[in-house]
Amino acid sequence: MAEIRNCRLPLSEEDAASLRLGDMVTLDGRIVVTAGIPTHKRIVDCIHGKETLPVDLDHAAFFHLGSLSREKEDGTAGLDVLYMNPTTSTRFNDVMPEIIRHFKLRCVGGKGGLDAECARALGEVGGVYLSFLGGGSPLLSDAIRRVVDVAWTDMISHYRLVTLEVSALGPLTVAIDARGESLYDQIADQAVNRREAILESMRQARSRIG
């Protein structure tokens, strides 16, 4: 495996296309994060013109990360983000294809992956899914350089739409590539294919004990 590669955001079409399943990357630049299902539904509402989206998501890096934002302690305007960490992306399977296609997202991510339809959408727009370390809050939070914007503050903290400037965010594992190939689908298929052999091994182990 190659060394961990640093990528600049927004990720170019060429950079996205060059990433292989299992590659590890770190990211520099601007990301948009949220962990809310209601937030995703609200983004879809924005796509349908019911509300104006407060951030620019075109070709963006959009990640399933929950964060704690609160008023700055020194009383100055804006919010601080104290920590962030990934949430399970499959929870957003039903809304992600539309969001990926509409904004031609170059980078999505979180933990646990996305389903085949989302992978197809990523393949169509040349985007990748990056796997974050669950339980990686200290490492991921240290990558935050600046809070650019915290939108939808009427929602609870981890549902808000937060734009951050990050440096050396990661390492993150490329788990769905820009052709729509999914490490998650490959691994799940492999597990299902191995199931009979695993059951047979357990049968043999039980018979040894008698």
Binding site: L68, L82, Y83, G113, S137, P138, S201, R203, A205
Partner: protein, 289 residues
């Protein structure tokens, strides 16, 4: 001097806070062993990141994960313990104090399932299970907050006079269904038998057993070895991106029951949140983990 409300409230509060910042020592040791044995480079790197994150949290007194879960406690009261406290209220007060004082603040994860409204508090929170310890002169409190990542993959099925093969195949299938999504490598707790409610409790309690401890029941010890090998043979690996380590351990409990047999499976993600302390009548608090 009997054990007081204040002592129980403070300990409940502290156990929760500690659980968010420290990965248990047995779990870190198991992650290190897994890293050393891994044949996949991605998996080795991922396990190394886990160990680095755990250390950074411990050294900097920071949260390992942003999902602080819902409060779950196990209280075991020694039958010789000297106490004069409203334990239920004291634990609730301890959790309220945690919410009001913890720095940084935790996120609002407690959810009303009827309205999906989220906050810090809710009906029947914290979730507390009570038990007795014969002859002990202390009260033991275990805190094991449950977060969404691993919490949503627990499962139970009721069989009628199942064979061991049926039971083990079911447990493997629950692990395959959870797949890449529960922040593996996980600790799996299994309950076999009893009744619907008791079986779920056994599975949850099995996750709390120290990793590396051998089941006193030889039949279950053999089942645990087979299932650990089986789940790791699936290949999901750390964070589900491939590797030899999907489960750090499988722990099982069983109870006699009727001819219907519940089988329950519960998961703890790799950070394996679990703190435990004993409180004695003389005011001494002994932190076990």
């Amino acid at each position: 001097m009997p054990i007081t409300d204040r002592q129980i409230a403070e300990l409940s509060r502290d156990l929760y806070s500690w659980s968010l910042r420290k990965v248990p020592d047995d779990t870190k040791a198991a992650l290190r062993s897994a890293r050393d044995a891994e044949t996949s480079e991605t998996a080795r790197k991922t396990l190394n990141m886990m160990l680095t994150s755990a250390q950074a949290a411990e050294d900097g007194d920071r949260f390992v994960c942003s999902d602080s879960g819902v409060p779950v406690y196990f209280v075991r009261i020694g039958t010789k313990a000297d106490w004069d406290a409203d334990i239920k209220t004291a634990i609730r007060d301890g959790f309220t104090e945690l919410v009001e004082t913890i720095d940084p603040p935790i996120l609002k994860h407690v959810t009303n399932p009827l309205t999906l409204e989220r906050g810090y508090f809710g009906k029947d929170m914290p979730i507390v299970t009570y038990d007795l310890i014969s002859g002990a002169d202390y009260i033991e409190i275990v805190c094991s907050p449950k977060a969404l990542g691993s919490g949503r993959w627990a499962a139970m099925e009721l069989f009628t006079l199942p064979t061991m093969e049926t039971i083990e195949a079911y447990i493997l299938d629950v692990a395959i269904k959870a797949g890449s999504q529960h922040c593996p490598p996980v600790v799996m707790g299994v309950g076999i038998g009893g009744t619907f409610d008791y079986c779920a409790k056994m599975a949850k309690e099995a996750t709390l057993r120290p990793i590396g401890s051998v089941n006193a029941d030889p039949t279950l010890a053999a089942l645990e070895r087979r299932l650990t090998d089986a789940v790791n043979a699936t290949g999901f690996g750390p964070m589900g991106t491939g590797g030899d380590t999907t489960a750090l351990a499988v722990h099982a409990n069983y109870a006699a029951g009727h001819a219907f047999t519940p089988v329950a499976v519960s998961f703890n993600c790799w950070i394996n949140r679990r703190t435990r302390a004993r409180i004695y009548g003389d005011g001494t608090v002994e932190r076990i983990e």
